[in-house]
Amino acid sequence: MGRRFGYFFRETAAALRRNGLVTFAAISTVFISLFLLGGSLLVQKQVDLMAGDWAQKVEVSVFLRDEASQGEIETLSRKITGMPEVQQVFYESKEQAYDRFVDLFKDSPALVENVSAESLPASFRVKLHDPEKFAVISARLAGEPAIDTIQDERRVLNKLLAVTGILRTGAQAVAAIMLIAAGGLIGNTVRMAVFARRKEIAIMKLVGATNWFIRIPFLIEGMVQGLLGAGFAILGLFVMKVLFIDPLRSQSLFGFIPWFGTSHILFTVPILLVAGVLIATVASLFAMRRFLEV
């Protein structure tokens, strides 16, 4: 077996050298497509992080004034609980809000340091039977002395989801198109490699080399291109994170958003590698199909 691996390795290296420019184009295309695919996966992660489980359970946040008396708060509580539109309501104290904040921004210790439980408002978190009824609730609670602001969490969330959804779909569509183009280019390099070695192939068939023995060097050549493209894409995602996301964490304006981190990029690694190898394998086999019939 050792000799065979040596043979396959030599053949693959020689073939990649021979078609330098086309190989470069194929690897670049795989890189771009998988970079976009990885990017869209991270956008998805980012949305999940920002939306969070909690935000989807709560439709209305009623923030309380710090000066509100215990009596005012109890009146308000009874009023909210009594509404037929309300499915569920719970009170979040300043301390609970702080705990949640700390948990949410555990990756940004600088931010946590600057916030105390006292600076966060207490609130009622309300879930409605019908989320569309926000305006009704809002109007009915107007004028309550304990209330600072009422926020329709769902509207904020929906805006975010709409924007990121378009971004994600766009990136995935471009990624899919690029991936098909990458497959075409890999197929082309493999086809050229087969063509360049048609004399060898003819002799190999004549002396009884099996089809798989003939195919494997070309298949490896295609797969190496897919793997290299995927590797560069993963590297690119890390570079993006270091260059653009990490600086945002320390900025006051964006720092309070939980950004995706290394663990989320690692999560995309197997997906990108499998996608790269898969497209390369399919493209290589497809390109060889016609040339290597017995």
Binding site: G2, R3, R4, Y7, K199, E200, A202, I203, M204, K205, L206, V207, G208, A209, T210, N211, F213, I214, V294
Partner: protein, 228 residues
């Protein structure tokens, strides 16, 4: 060793390359297939290698019906058949040694077998001193010897030769024929397509003559043509 039963091969339903060819070749025989260009000699050889399928009829090689042989078994059929051609089909960027070794390498023979057997066979064909030369440094006769070494290095049961002397001058051709004769004496069945009448006449072996795809003569100790 080889048997064809009423083999017919037509291309695109109109061109008939072989028609109703039934021949039987015993183990160890030396057979010439003669006839003018386009008489079907090369088609006959391609059919034996299963590079093409017969339109009708059955072909048996080493006792097996190769019509029904599944495609993944074809390489194993070919390992039993050595093939040489008019144009040698050597790889120009490989040395003599590498050209012969290639045939063993691609069927997965271990390195120590290759290191032992390739010099042996090249010495046998008289090229023991030219292992490291490239094909373009050799004469035509020497190149054909390399291709014979490559065809024979795996000790096939059958050697198919398609116009092996077609590119060689008469005296070189004689040397190549001596080599094929020696290979035949080791028990290898040799089938040689040719239209070199001097060689056929000199060898006095079985001659099968094709004309427009049909067998017009099958003679035990034949010459190239009638009355010559």
């Amino acid at each position: 060793m080889i048997k064809t039963e009423s083999v017919t091969k037509t291309y695109k339903d109109t061109v008939t390359a072989l028609e109703d060819v039934s021949v039987e070749v015993e183990k160890g025989e030396f057979v010439f297939i003669v006839g003018p260009s386009g008489s079907g000699k090369s088609t006959f050889i391609r059919l034996l290698l299963k590079e093409e399928e017969p339109t009708r009829g059955a072909i048996y090689v080493a006792g097996k019906n190769i019509n029904t042989l599944s495609s993944w078994k074809v390489p194993y059929l070919r390992r039993n058949i050595g093939t040489i051609f008019q144009d040698f089909k050597l790889l120009p960027d490989k040395t003599v040694f590498e050209n012969v070794a290639f045939a063993l390498e691609v069927i997965g023979k271990p390195k120590h077998v290759i290191q032992k057997r390739v010099p042996e066979i090249l010495t046998l064909v008289g090229l023991g001193g030219k292992l490291e030369n490239y094909p373009d440094e050799l004469s035509g006769g020497e190149q054909q010897r390399v291709s014979i070494a490559r065809a024979f290095v795996n000790r096939p049961l059958i050697l198919l030769a398609d116009e092996p002397t077609g590119n060689l001058d008469p005296s070189t051709s004689v040397e190549i024929m001596k080599l094929l004769d020696r290979i035949n004496r080791t028990g290898t069945t040799v089938i040689m397509a040719t239209h070199d009448n001097a060689i056929v006449d000199a060898m006095r072996r079985r001659v099968i003559e094709l004309e427009d795809g049909s067998v017009v003569r099958d003679q035990a100790r034949g010459v190239y043509g009638y009355g010559t």
